[in-house]
């Protein structure tokens, strides 16, 4: 519940960023650069250009959350569909899809990112596209593997015997049974994706510079590790808190979906 509260808070902060942040995130004051946290007027200090770190963090939550969640959600949905089809239908469909996955994996993400940025321009939407294009593969492999095992199980056979369509079997019987690992991976990926965005900034391919992102802040702050620890630490902490919240929620969801999870379902006592 705490996790949910944290997450909701972050979302609200992101949405309300323009109204609640104390400064314009891009307003500079070169005379007042690298102020430590708790210094006057700047609760969390300022960065190398004298910009208010708190304001940048608040605005940054937008990009990081959008990138984190949309990239994960989209890749998971697409990957799961491919994985289910590949694993359940099997045969040449499986071979084809999995070879595509092989080829896909081999592709350097950076090349893709550059090409996308070149063709579509910069901006978070394109970062998300790049992340999704590479991200779905993981889910596809995972779900396909689980499906291979699940489709041989008797309850799938029994559902087939009842006349359930392949679609229904995949979605209703197989998917719920591989939801747990998907959830674990997806919630982890939220962190991975946010950090990947940071790595892109590190390698010089980040989001548009006019919008601060946690990843970008972190990448910028790395040079100041000994001199201005807060520059890298604070956005890092923000990412950590988000990842933690998402994962705790994921765990709770996992437990809720696990029929065997040990809790007393007293609400089900018939009157």
């Amino acid at each position: 519940m705490v996790a949910l509260a944290v997450l909701v808070t972050f979302v609200i902060v992101g949405v309300l960023a323009p109204w609640i942040s104390p400064y314009d995130p891009n307003a500079q004051n070169l005379a007042n650069r690298l102020q430590p946290p708790l210094s006057e007027g700047h609760l969390l200090g300022t960065d190398g250009l004298g910009r208010d770190v708190l304001s940048r963090l608040i605005h940054g939550s937008r990009i990081s959350l959008i990138v984190g969640f949309s990239a994960v959600l989209l890749s998971a949905v697409f990957g799961v569909i491919v994985g289910l089809v590949s694993g359940y239908v099997g045969g040449w469909v499986d071979s084809l899809l999995m070879r595509i996955v092989d080829a896909w994996l081999a592709f350097p993400f950076l090349l893709l990112a550059i090409a996308i940025v070149a063709v579509l321009g910069r901006g978070i939407d394109n970062i998300v596209i790049a992340l999704v294009i590479t991200g779905w593969v993981l889910y596809a492999r995972l779900v396909r593997g689980e499906t291979l095992s699940l489709r041989e199980r008797e309850f799938v056979l029994s559902a087939r015997g009842l006349g359930a369509s392949p679609m229904a079997i995949m979605m209703k019987h197989i998917l719920p049974n591989c939801l747990a690992p998907i959830m674990v991976v997806a919630t982890l990926e939220v962190g991975v994706v946010i950090v990947t965005e940071a790595s892109l900034s590190f390698l010089g391919l980040g989001a548009s510079a006019s919008e601060p992102s946690w990843g970008g802040m972190l990448a910028d702050g790395r040079a100041y590790l000994t001199r201005a620890w807060w520059l890298a630490t604070l956005p890092g902490l923000a990412i950590f808190v988000i990842v933690l919240a998402v994962n705790v929620l994921g765990d709770a969801l996992r437990d809720a979906l696990d029929p065997r999870h040990e809790k007393i379902r007293s609400e089900e006592i018939p009157a």
Binding site: F155, L157, S158, S165, P176, N177, P259, R260
Partner: protein, 272 residues
Amino acid sequence: MTPKLRVQDLVKTFTSGRALLGTAERSVAVDGISFDVTTGSSFGIVGESGSGKSTTARIVASLLDADAGSVQLDGREMLSLGRRDLLAVRRTVQMVFQDPFASLNPRWKVGNLVGEGLRIHHRMSREAHRARVQELLEMCGLPASAATRFPHEFSGGQRQRIGIARALAVEPDVLILDEPVSALDVSIQAQILTLLTRLQSELGLTFLFIAHDLAIVERFCDDVAVMQNGRIVEQGNPVELYRDPQHHYTKTLLGAIPIPDPRRRDNNSPRR
């Protein structure tokens, strides 16, 4: 008149052992069996454990491919059906699995499990659906509250009844029952068998009934086949067959039935 179900020269081989390591060996599970089941009758299969009864059942239910032979339903070959036709067949042929728990999706509540067939084959209002599921559960001696619980919360016999309710939901013409009452106490056994008999006489259902309890088979089935090593070694009307068994195995089988009377322990019984 064509039989409802005609099985001819059915053969199924399995590879067992570790196919991955190349130690696979082939074993014949079903070795050329044939039988006919007429509409509205019950055909019993008894026999040695591992003799291919369940395998036969699965092939007849179109859940497993046969290596050779044919299965005809109302004169129509079933082993080569396309996906679409298969769906139609599934409406008419249903199977109750030998292992009830494994055949129930552990993440589904029993109400949904029982209702699945209904949903697929019988469109009905949500209310009617719920009522029907309730009815099916009660028919099989399960409390209505079962609908909201998960399969692992049930006893072995309860699960077996869930499996039966699930198959009945579809309202099939042909019901394949793989040891459907083995985990039930005799009273509930009787309840279920009475239910089946009633459905048969009301709706003209055809049963393929696999069991180990010869006494039940005698009463429930019109015909019985005795299987051993993938073959039918003897077949006929159960009353007559029991009275005058021909095959050696059938004789052994009949001789091994434990008599429900402690005073009649003979030299043959495990504890004299």
